[in-house]
């Protein structure tokens, strides 16, 4: 019997019966229903201690008393005032919303749940109502009539529930006529909750790990060596190639970093193996780092300060190791941080050089200040220059679609590079419907620290729009694989696809590149990086051998 933290607990036919009519009670008078499967467990005090965060305490979401610290209302109001004076986005977005509702059915959580407080506009009103009451003239005088409400413990509970039901995917901000970005609102809401010691453990434990050990999973240096060695073993089994394992290597040309999820979780590990293979093939002088062993940054889901604290290690390690520039792997939120925050937070990286591809000589001018290049930009350039011998037929059993990850799409705009790479390594590539890709892409439902099993109902609901689009291409084109350049996608979309579009596997793009690459010195490639037999390959080779044998040319193809 499945429990609430397993997909099998939920009947898909029931889950799609979505009540889109708002409740009879006005939203300010509708309390939160904390039902299992829709909220995340509290952050454990030990993790707050590691980070030196205020008010660590034991509490439970379903408790009536959340044991808020003395004077908590003042803490929140002071925190709001501080943030209103520091972030123009926050101040402006509190003031200018007209409640037109254009954002409402753009949110995957609203589409999947029908809960009006999951409309981006209402999610922001949860904060805006307090702002009006305590920071605006009309609100101070007219109170509720002007859309204000008093700050009570129930408001805090509501914030906790709904700011951890937003994946900061920014889809709503694409459609908002003023560009109001719910990610900014949610980030502020979570920062304010943090002032009271309220976090979710799924975020704050990885943050504590990352702070201490350099990666969210808490993998220690010797563990990382073991992990990469293990992968090297699998690489050898699949391809016959022995790859180098440069770790903490001083004087390497490039520091490579990627989300740590890809060190341990299937299918991310195959993408990680692909990096090692491709760097080996291209002869790149690079290094991994155990200290900067995670590009992912759950600080983004905690507070701006925490984001900066975790991100600092990237440039610091690049400096210590004396590399020339930095290359980043496939990850979603990591690239939001790297692209839009890192240079501001922890730059200038003037000790590095403008990134130049050692393979093609291309100067990456668009990264000339941050000195950090995306693996897809790098590989697209390599493939464009014909520097990677490719045989896309090796992926012919795969009919692939591409899921644009939220942050690279809407916080960066890397749309064509991955598609160019995919088209060059797969003969069967099919796009999902246009309103579900590129800048209009739908979240996996588990980003921004929501991808934990106790949140299963919301993950499945939030994953509905994406899952539905996947099923569409599955039924129409026979798509059997979904490529995504994000480690969270590679973790959460497996569940979403199994549930909403069973039969579609999830993969990283680099994995497909490595499977299509004809490596120097490779053995007969009968198995892919997953060590699954490649349909046709074994037979074809046998056939080819038979032909060659009759002509007396055995081995000539090797």
């Amino acid at each position: 019997m499945a429990t609430f933290d397993e997909p099998g607990y939920y009947d898909p036919d029931e889950l799609v019966q979505i009540q889109r009519h708002p409740p009879v009670t006005p939203w300010m008078e509708t309390p939160v229903d904390f039902r299992p499967g829709t909220f995340i467990y509290p952050g454990k005090p030990k993790n707050l201690h590691v980070l030196g965060l205020p008010h660590p305490h034991e509490w439970a979401v379903t408790d009536a008393d959340w044991k808020l610290p003395q004077g908590w209302q003042q803490i929140i109001l002071d925190g709001m005032a501080e943030r209103l004076s520091r972030y123009r986005s926050f101040q402006l977005f509190m003031d200018i919303c007209v409640r037109c509702g254009a954002c409402a059915d753009k949110c995957h959580f609203f589409i999947g749940s029908g809960d009006p407080k999951n409309m981006p506009v209402l999610r922001a009103e949860l904060l805006r109502s307090i702002y009006r009451k305590d920071f605006t003239a009309l609100g101070k005088v007219f109170g509720k009539l002007a859309g204000g409400r008093p700050l009570t413990e129930d408001v805090i509970k509501e914030w906790f529930y709904y700011f951890y039901q937003c994946t900061e995917c920014r889809r709503c901000s694409v459609f908002c006529p003023y560009g109001i970005d719910t990610a900014e609102i949610t980030m502020m809401g979570r920062e304010l909750l943090g002032l009271l010691g309220l976090y979710v453990n799924w975020v704050i434990e990885p943050v504590a790990n990352c702070y201490r050990f350099g990666n969210h999973l808490g993998i220690q240096p010797h563990g990382m060596v073991d992990t990469l060695e293990f992968m090297a073993g699998d690489i050898e089994e699949a391809t016959g190639i022995t790859v180098d394992l440069p770790i903490n290597k001083k004087g390497a040309e490039i520091l490579f970093f990627t989300p740590s999820g890809d060190f341990v979780a299937d299918p991310g590990i195959y993408t990680c193996m692909a990096y090692m293979l491709l760097f080996h093939e291209l002869g790149i002088d690079y290094t991994w780092s155990t200290y900067a062993s995670d590009g992912g940054n759950f600080g983004l889901f905690t507070s701006h300060e925490t984001m900066k604290r975790l991100n600092a290690k990237i440039y610091a390690e690049a400096k210590r190791l004396g590399v020339k520039w930095i290359l980043g792997g496939e990850c979603g939120h990591m690239w939001r941080v790297v692209h839009q925050y890192m240079n501001t937070m922890n730059g200038p990286a003037d000790f590095l050089e403008v990134p130049t591809s050692p393979v093609t000589g291309t100067v990456f001018e668009h990264a000339r200040s941050a000195k950090t290049v995306h693996i897809m930009e790098f590989l697209a350039d390599v493939i464009k220059h014909g520097k990677l011998p490719l045989d896309p037929a090796r992926n012919d059993h795969i009919r692939v679609t591409f899921h644009d990850s939220c942050n690279p799409a809407r916080g960066m705009g890397i749309l064509e590079e991955p598609r160019y790479v995919l088209r060059n390594v797969c003969n069967h590539f099919y796009e999902m419907p246009e309103n579900t890709i590129r800048e209009q892409t739908f979240c996996c439902g588990g980003g921004a620290g929501l991808g934990t099993d106790e949140n299963m109902e919301m993950r499945l609901r939030g994953g509905l729009p994406r899952g539905n689009a996947v099923r569409y291409v599955q039924e129409r084109y026979g798509v059997n694989q979904l490529a995504a350049m994000c480690a969270i996608d590679r973790a959460t979309l497996v569940t979403v696809c199994d549930y909403w579009a069973p039969g579609v596997n999830v993969t990283g793009i680099s994995e497909l590149v490595a499977n299509a690459t004809v490596f120097r010195g490779e053995k007969r490639r009968t198995h892919n990086l997953r060590l699954e037999p490649i349909p046709g390959m074994a037979d074809e080779l046998a056939d080819a051998d038979a032909v060659l044998e009759t002509r007396g040319e055995v081995g000539a193809h090797a």
Binding site: V16, Q17, R20, P22, R86, R88, L92, D95, I96, R99, C100, G101, A104, D105, P116, E125, A137, L138, L145, A146, G147, V174, F175, P177, Y178, G179, I180, Y211, R212, F213, Q220, P221, V225, I247, N248, K249, T290, Y291, R309, A312, A316, R320, H339, Q340, N343, P348, H366, A367, R368, A370, K384, R410, G411, G413, Y420, T436, E439, Q440, P465, N468
Partner: protein
């Protein structure tokens, strides 16, 4: 309920203006309050915009809605993902003049209980853009009352606006469009359950205020014609700081003028601030150049980090055991 409060407020305000003037308070409603309202509008708006402008933009966070500029052979979508300032100006122009983001609007519908579809839905865009442009043109037409001689472009706008030459005096296209668009915006606010659910008094009030201003203006021009020469004398007096109140102006006009005064005074304290606000929105008005040039956070402060030295101190034995190089033996 919230809607009724707004209706009641606007009706009461209109009656106050009309009856007040009829009771002999023309100087109050024709001169004092309009000046006060313009003062509140200008000072209130300036204060709000300055307040926004004084809040820093610590991070460069444009919402990118198209391909970035990266490799030379990949064509960037400059107006959706601006790589430089001219592109930002283009993006903002599209947003402000054409309501670009609303133009993307889709309606999500589940078909047969199994397939989600996202059909283009331009009703909101159409209602909004017609309302705003019609209002702008109506404002330009009103310059006739504030200027002497009337500038050529005002007459030109009037000529185009009255192109169909229906009615006497000619009914302007924008008068009808303005009222029609407002009525639609009100309709959708009531008819779409989600939108009605989130609507505040502050959402209905400006709608009814504008409807009443447009409606009374239409009435003044086409139903009970007022002494236009006297109205112009009053408005010219106001704009030239030599106020005068001619006797022959109907109370209806003072109702109209008072609602305009209320609108101006209310503007800086309301959601109508979206007008100046859209210019300052950090997700729209910034170039996507964070990796090209460093954006500086003016309030940046040092944070506590876990340094490599601390990391190695804790894990040195394990690193040595795993054959990893260390800084200190």
């Amino acid at each position: 309920m919230t809607m009724l409060i707004a209706v009641g407020l606007v009706t009461a305000l209109f009656l106050v203006g009309m009856l007040g003037a009829a009771a002999g308070l023309q100087w109050v409603f024709g001169v004092a309050l309009p000046y006060l309202a313009v003062g509140m509008f200008v000072i209130g708006l300036a204060a709000r915009v300055l307040r926004w402008a004084n809040v820093p933009v610590p991070f460069r966070i444009p919402t990118t809605c198209g391909q970035q500029r990266s490799l030379a052979w990949i064509r960037p979508q400059r107006l959706e993902n601006p790589p430089d300032t001219p592109s930002v100006i283009g993006r903002m122009a599209l947003e402000i003049l054409g309501f670009r983001s609303l133009l993307r609007n889709t309606k999500t519908v589940m078909i047969d209980g199994r397939r989600l579809t996202y059909a283009t839905d331009l009703a909101l865009w159409a209602g909004a853009i017609v309302m705003h442009w019609a209002m702008l043109i109506a404002l330009i037409r009103h310059l006739r009352l504030m200027t002497n001689p009337v500038p050529g472009f005002v007459t030109l706008v009037e000529r185009f606006d009255g192109f169909f030459e229906v009615g006497m005096p000619v009914i302007y296209l924008t008068s009808v469009a303005f009222l029609g668009a407002l009525a639609y915006l009100l309709y959708r606010r009531l008819a779409i359950p989600e939108v009605r659910y989130i609507s505040l008094v502050g959402d209905y009030f400006p709608l009814f205020l504008l409807l009443a201003i447009g409606g009374s203006g239409f009435w003044l021009r086409h139903v009970t014609t007022t002494d236009i020469a006297s109205v112009k004398a009053l408005v010219l007096g106001l704009t030239h700081f030599a106020p005068t109140v001619p006797a022959s102006i109907s109370p209806l006009f003072f109702g109209h003028l008072f609602l305009v005064s209320v609108l101006l005074a209310y503007f800086p304290f309301s959601k109508l601030l979206h007008m100046p606000g859209v210019f300052l929105s950090p997700t729209r008005n910034l170039a996507n150049t964070t990796r090209i040039s460093r954006h500086v956070n003016p309030w940046d402060y040092p944070v506590k980090v876990h340094t490599y030295a601390e990391y190695e101190d804790e894990l040195r034995d394990k690193m040595i055991g795993a054959g990893l190089p260390v800084e200190k033996d």
